[in-house]
């Protein structure tokens, strides 16, 4: 019964996989250009078995998590400062407006130039790519905190720092978390892009390497893995948000 519900709600997905399988097996395309879904699954399992895939996933996720964490710390701090001080806001707002629309993948060569092609460069790139939506959402969230909440805390004896930690940040947390979720998706894009261009490990590198060497079935396996990782990541984050924001009218 449950399985049937799951299928009926995700049948477009099932259709895509079945379609993939049928088209691949029809002989319309060469096998190595479009291997069937089941073959891709089997190749993914092979990669998993010799620990190769695991290594690349861990490399990628470690980079992504470091970059995003850095962006959260920097972004929330800057957002709070902008909401707090008119001068800080006036300084950073035009810069953010100008840099926000730049597709972050366009920064990859620049960051390679500045920081080299190693892990540090990728972390900085992920941080730069995700920090802006976090700054903007934190800024708006903090600026929108109800004045009565802040004044209530002050009247009960809280100083500015305690008010920030115990009242302003919790009150702003729904919007800040939404900003982080946006950053999370961007971080995966930037991550894979930067790994494809340089390096010796990571899911992006796996895609680029297998393409170059003509091992297309492994390319498919890598892409499939990224899709699954990204999906699970987003779901987990939503779960966390729901937990943290259970007090809201409707948790995200």
């Amino acid at each position: 019964m449950r399985g049937w519900r799951l299928l009926s709600r995700n049948y477009s997905l099932a259709l895509l996989l079945v379609g993939w399988e049928v088209v691949a097996r029809s002989g319309l395309f060469a096998r190595d250009i479009l291997p069937p879904f089941t073959t891709t699954l089997a190749r993914t399992a092979d990669l998993l078995r010799d620990g190769e895939l695991e290594r690349h996933v861990l490399f990628s996720l470690a980079r992504q998590a470091s970059g995003l964490l850095l962006a959260v710390v920097a972004g929330v701090s800057l957002g709070v400062l902008m909401a707090w001080s008119r001068r800080v806001r006036d300084f950073f707002e035009p810069l953010l407006m100008l840099t926000n629309p730049i597709p972050k993948a366009a920064l990859i060569p620049l960051f390679m130039l500045w920081f080299g092609i190693g892990t540090f460069s990728k972390i900085m790139l992920i941080c730069a790519g995700t920090v802006i939506p976090i700054v903007i959402s934190a800024f708006h969230a903090v600026a929108d905190v109800n004045r009565n909440h802040i004044w209530s805390a002050r009247a009960m004896g809280d100083g500015p720092l305690r008010t920030l930690v115990r009242v302003v940040l919790p009150a702003a947390s729904p919007q800040i978390l939404s900003g982080i979720r946006l950053g999370l998706i961007v971080s995966l894009i930037v991550l894979v892009g930067s790994e494809m261009l340089a390096g010796r490990e990571g899911l992006g590198w796996l895609i680029a390497y297998t393409m170059e060497t003509g091992a297309y079935d492994l390319t498919y396996a890598a892409i499939l893995t990224i899709a699954i990782v990204g999906f699970c990541y987003d779901r987990l984050f939503l779960l966390l948000m729901g937990r943290l924001l259970a007090w809201q009218e409707r948790a995200a």
Binding site: N148, H149, A155
Partner: protein, 263 residues
């Protein structure tokens, strides 16, 4: 002894949109005695909330002197508790956590017990684990009142605390406040635009003029305590007082309407 004293207090705000200074308060003088219940009555926009926020220390006075217990006010303090009309409770905290927020003395268990005691005092025992969104407007205001009473400030500053409630709930809350105040004898500065509410609750009603607000008249309310809201509804003397006060307020409402060029 004077708990709160305002001498020649003025305040103006900058209207950024029109690029002009707007005077909100002009030369306000007011003295509130220990354990006195004073209502500030005036038309909307007369600056009565601004006056309260200046006493609370949320915004600085532009000119003049604000004293609490003889000392100038430089910012908010735990000697002055505030109850807002709305949006005061922290929505991410349960009723218990909200009420416990201001309590600083004692072990965690003692703080917990004290919070529960005040939740029970406002009639909400059993709702400790609820979030504010699960409560009605009246219940939220009870929690807000409990939160402020729980850390025992000497002075209560109340900014139209029942203004967003329906009439029945409002009457019940007034009775509740009278009961609590008569038991605790705090000094209360109570902002309202309701003549009825001011008469029922206060020892003294201060009527303010339209913007820029200043004290127009101070009227003593002679009824003995404990008071019952229903009794005062039909009391002849109370009716006369209400009529007099309404005349005073009405002039200001009309003046404000005329000045703004609309209703």
């Amino acid at each position: 002894m004077e708990r709160v004293a305002l001498r020649g207090v003025s305040k103006s705000f900058r209207d950024a949109r029109r690029g002009v200074e707007v005077a909100a308060l002009e030369n306000c003088n007011l003295a509130v005695s220990d354990r006195e219940f004073v209502s500030i009555l005036g038309p909307s926009g007369c600056g009565k909330s601004t006056l309260l926020y200046i006493v609370a220390g949320f915004i600085p006075a532009g000119a003049g002197e604000v004293l609490v217990d003889g000392r100038p006010v430089t910012g908010p303090g735990r000697d002055r508790g505030i109850v807002f009309q709305e949006y005061a409770l922290f929505p991410w905290q349960t009723v218990l956590d909200n009420v416990r927020y201001g309590i600083r003395e004692g072990s965690p268990a003692e703080r917990d017990a004290r919070a529960r005691e005040f939740i029970a005092k406002v009639g909400l025992a059993g709702f400790e684990r609820h979030y504010p969104r699960e409560l009605s407007g009246g219940m939220k205001q009870r929690v807000a009142l409990a939160r402020t009473l729980a850390y025992d400030p000497d002075i209560l500053l109340m900014d139209e605390p029942f203004g967003a409630l329906d009439t029945q709930t409002r009457l019940l809350m007034q009775e509740e406040l009278l009961r609590i105040w008569e038991a605790n004898q705090k000094t209360i500065l109570f902002v309202t635009h309701s003549v009825e509410e001011a008469v029922v609750l206060s020892d003294r009603v201060v009527v303010m003029t339209a913007r820029p607000g200043t004290v127009k008249r101070s009227v003593n309310i002679p009824f003995k305590r404990p008071r019952l809201v229903e009794t005062l509804m039909h009391d002849v003397e109370a009716m006369e007082l209400r009529a007099d006060l309404w005349q005073l307020v009405k002039e200001e409402v009309l003046r404000a309407g005329g000045a703004a060029g609309g209703p």
